[in-house]
Structures are given as C-alpha cells and as structure tokens.
C-alpha cells in the first residue's frame, strides 16, 4: 500500500485539518469528537440538516457543508460509521428550536449509531428527525438482507433538503421532502478496481484483470454479480436498465442524471459514460433536465462509476437550482 498519509490511525483527523484550513470561509472542524460544522452555525431559526458516515467517501459529507446544503457532517473512521456522541456533537453545534434532520445512509452501523444519537438528542428536548436513504438497486430489498444501501442519491438528498432548509422550510416540510426524494431516487454502481483502506493496507477485494463488480457499494462491498469486463456501451446500458426498471422511470419522466466517479476513474471515462447514459435515456423518452457529473460520493481510490436518477418535478428542480456554496458543490453564490 502506497498512500500519502502518515499514521493510518490519524488519516481522518489530519485530512480534516486540511479541509478546515482550505475552507475556513465555509466551515470549521471541531475536535474530539470530530465534526465538520458550517462556519456560521447555528443559523438562527433554520432547520439544521446533518449527515455523516464513515470517511473515505469524500467529498461526502464534509465537502457539502455550507450555505444551501449541510449544517454539519459527522465523519467516522474510514468506512466506519461515526459514534453517537459525534453525531450528538454535530446536532448540538447546529440545532436550535427549529430542529434538525439527520440524513442516514442505510447501513446497519450508520442506522444504529444515528438512532442512538437521536435518542440522546430527544432527551435534550431537541426536535430531531431521521430519514434513512436506501437508493441502491443492486441489493434486493427483502427481510433477508440489511436492506438497500444508501449511495449516490444521498448527494442529491443533501442538496435538496439543504436548499429547503435554507429557504426557511419547517422541519415537518423538510422531513416530508426528504421522504419524497428517497421515494424517487435510484442508483447503481460498478467497480473496476478495489479501494485500499489505510489501516487494512490491502485492497478490499480481489477482482481479476477482466472482471467488473456490478452493483458495488461504496465500501467495496460486493454487489449483484461479478461480470466480465465489457465495452462502455454495454456496461452503461446494463446500469441504465437496472436503475430505470426499478422505480420504474418511464417515457416522459423528467429526471436529474448524476454520473458519479467512485474516486479513481479518470474524468475522460466519466464523461464518456455520461454521454452514453444520456443517449440511452433519450432513446427511452426519459428527459434529462439536470445533470451532475463528477466524483461526489467515492470509495477512496476505487475505479468505477455509479449512475443515479432522480425523478424531478418543479419543486425538486427549483430546490436543485437554488444557490449552494460548499467545498464541492457551488453555484449561484
């Protein structure tokens, strides 16, 4: 393992120090427990939008802290959900009488730790609600699994709920909006290579030189199946089919298409895949009204991409377009 790090155990803390100094206008980093907080938090009268999870998925979540998106992000150790006291520290730093929405990706660890945190917050008379996002169509949602994972849809959910909260929406409204977004967003990912967790020191899984993991999670967990490498046209078609057939998305639907790099995929390939996805959606009569292309929810250096589709209506489109100013997403301000 070659990495630009010092001590594997200190990676997250040292990286947060770099984030803090690079973006002092947007955010501050509290230590012990580590929390990334919007520079001007708590914002009076505003619902706080808080998210978090294991590190290694950057810019998720710290790169989305700022006006129009998150009030705080709670970074756990690499690929490890943060502990309840860290979540609680984020809530305490950002939440006033308007309450807070916790955005939780559906992983057992995240759900359990955020659940405990929400109980702690309730004990302090804070109005804290949680939503669990589970947009990954790779996993069969049944009582026989931990349920679908939260992946690319998380980025869109954080942007849209963040915009609503910034406009002054109530906690009830922000929570309802979050549930609506979760209901109409779907994702699928593929991996060409595995990530290497610093404290593990070896790739998270072994993939043959001609194999692709179809339906990969963002922690290098496996997906639906291992398939032979195939041309981009075929691979992206397989991904589009998986996502579109799930909701399903239908001809005439207006959507946001989010083509995400898992971290190690060159932009050249990412835009190539995006172009194919746009073409395939157009062929199905699905209207791409907004798009996001880039590395926004990653798995360390893993090569691979994910596609996320969100069904849009006027409300969601307006909230997507609303100004945002964070390290990773910025427009209109």
């Amino acid at each position: 393992m070659k990495k630009i790090i010092n001590d594997p155990a200190a990676v997250v803390a040292e990286s947060l120090r770099g984030l803090a100094v690079a973006h002092a206008d947007l955010l501050r980093v509290q230590d012990d427990p580590a929390v990334v907080v919007r520079a001007d938090a708590p914002v009076a009268g505003k619902v706080a939008v808080v998210s978090g999870g294991g590190s290694g998925h950057e810019p998720l979540h710290g790169g989305f802290v700022g006006p129009g998106m998150l009030d705080a992000a709670v970074p756990g150790a690499v690929f490890t959900s943060p502990t309840p006291d860290a979540v609680q520290a984020a809530v305490t730093a950002t939440t006033g009488p308007a309450g807070a929405l916790l955005i939780v990706k559906n992983y057992t660890g995240d759900v359990l730790n955020f659940e405990t945190a929400a109980e702690l917050a309730a004990a302090e008379d804070l109005d804290v609600r949680s939503v669990v996002i589970d947009d990954d169509v790779a996993v069969k949602d049944s009582t026989f699994t931990a349920g679908r994972r939260g992946v690319g849809g998380t980025v869109l959910l954080e942007k849209i709920t963040g915009a609503a909260a910034e406009r002054g929406a109530s906690l009830d409204a922000v929570e309802a909006l979050a549930r609506k977004v979760i209901g109409q967003v779907r994702s699928i990912g593929v991996a060409l290579t595995a990530p290497t967790v610093p404290h593990v020191g070896e790739p998270s899984f072994d993939l043959g030189p001609d194999e692709v993991e179809f339906g990969i999670g963002i922690h290098g967990e496996p997906g639906r199946e291992r398939i032979p490498a195939e041309p981009a046209d075929a691979l992206v078609a397989r991904m589009v089919e998986a996502v579109v057939s799930d909701l399903p998305f239908e001809a005439g639907d207006k959507v946001l298409l989010f083509t995400n790099s898992m971290g190690g995929t060159p932009q050249l390939e990412l835009y190539l895949a995006h172009g194919i996805a746009e073409r395939l959606l157009a062929e199905r009569g699905i209207v791409v009204e907004r798009r996001l292309v880039g590395p926004y929810i990653t798995s360390l250096e893993m090569q691979g991409i994910s596609l996320t589709l969100l069904k849009l209506d006027d409300e969601l489109t307006q909230l997507w377009d609303a100004p945002v100013r964070t390290a990773a997403l910025r427009w209109g301000m």
Partner: protein, 206 residues
C-alpha cells in the same frame, strides 16, 4: 468465588490483549465478506477501555460494565460498536449494585446481553451474526454447573461452535448480507470476536 469489579477490570484488560492479537484475523474475516474494519474497530474500542480503567476502576462490576459500554459506544462506531455497547449496557443493568458477580448474576447478564443485541440489531439465530455465537454461548452456560470460570468456559465453547456454524450460513443482517450466497464459506467476524471475548473472560476468571 465470584468476580469483583477489579476482577472484571482485569478480565477486560485481558480481552483487550486478545483482541489486539487477533486484530488482523478479524480484519481479514471482515475484508472477505464486509468492509475490513472489524478488527480495527474493536481494538480501538478495547484500547480505550483499558485507558479508561487506568484512571480509575469503578467500584462495582456493574459500573465497570457500564464504563465498557459507554466507551465502546463512543469509540467503536460501525455496527459492532452499538451492538457490543448495548450488550454491556444491558448486562450492567442486571448486575445492580452487587459487589461480586456470581453464577446466577452471570447468567442474567449473559441473557440480557443477548436480548440487547437482538433488540438493537433485529437479528435472529441463523442470520450469521454475533447472535449466532451468543445463543449457543448462553445455552451452554445455562446447562453447566460449577464456578463463574466454569460457566464462562462453557459459554466460550458454545460461542466457538456458534462462530464455526456461521461458515455455512447465508448472512441476512449487516454488510455481509449484500453478498448473499457468496458469503457462504466465510466465518462471521462478529461471531468470531464474540467467541474471542468470551474465551478471554473465561481465562481471566480462572
């Protein structure tokens, strides 16, 4: 003879050593069917317990167990942190203000720990989780006579068998469930760590 606060503290220190020794093994087990952090997470947690005990060993076994619980909850993260944390928290509640843990209290505590893990994680036997180590550990403990050490040794034996049994199971909870049938042939890391912990406690109680 039962187990005092000091005795439980010593047992936890011994457990921390065992976890540190098996850190890589647990990482490898988790890397195969999960995300590879289980060994790292638990070492971080038990190292923190040892530090916390350095400052002061609380007066009762219940207080020691509670310290372990809150430390695990605030240091481990992941799925294992809240689950093991809950196990110790529920056990602690059963221990009340007893100065020593005797066999009946130990069985109550083990039962409460299992119930806590199941309440939190919703896993049942056969889902290929730490629950599959805890269930046979508890029944072995319940059907054994003898000292606290004997009962713990029986529990550890049961947990070993339970951990072994997860090799053939299709996981239905936690990260490994995403693998489905592809996880068959691999031991569940949490079941393995449960067996390791019970063995360390049993050894320390001798």
């Amino acid at each position: 003879m039962g187990c005092t606060a000091e005795g439980l503290a010593a047992a936890l220190r011994a457990a921390a050593e065992v976890i540190a020794e098996h850190r890589t093994e647990l990482i490898e087990l988790d890397r195969a069917i999960g995300d590879g952090d289980h060994g790292e997470n638990l070492s971080r947690g038990f190292t923190a317990i040892v530090s916390a005990l350095e400052t002061q060993v609380p007066a009762t076994p219940a207080a020691v167990a509670k310290l372990a619980a809150t430390t695990l909850i605030s240091k481990v993260g992941g799925a294992a942190g809240p689950l093991y944390g809950t196990a110790f928290l529920r056990a602690s509640a059963k221990l009340g203000d007893a100065a020593e843990i005797d066999v009946p209290l130990l069985l109550d505590a083990l039962r409460a720990a299992l119930e806590g893990v199941q309440a939190r994680g919703k896993a049942v036997g056969g889902d290929a989780t730490m629950v599959d180590a805890l269930i046979p550990a508890l029944s072995a403990a319940e059907s054994t006579g003898g000292s606290v050490a004997d009962v713990l040794a029986a529990a550890a034996d049961g947990a070993d068998r339970g951990a072994e049994s997860t090799v053939d199971l299709i996981p239905r909870k936690g990260r490994a469930s995403y693998l489905g049938e592809r996880a068959v042939g691999h031991m569940d890391p949490g079941a393995r760590s449960t067996a390791l912990l019970l063995r360390a406690l049993a050894e320390a109680a001798r």
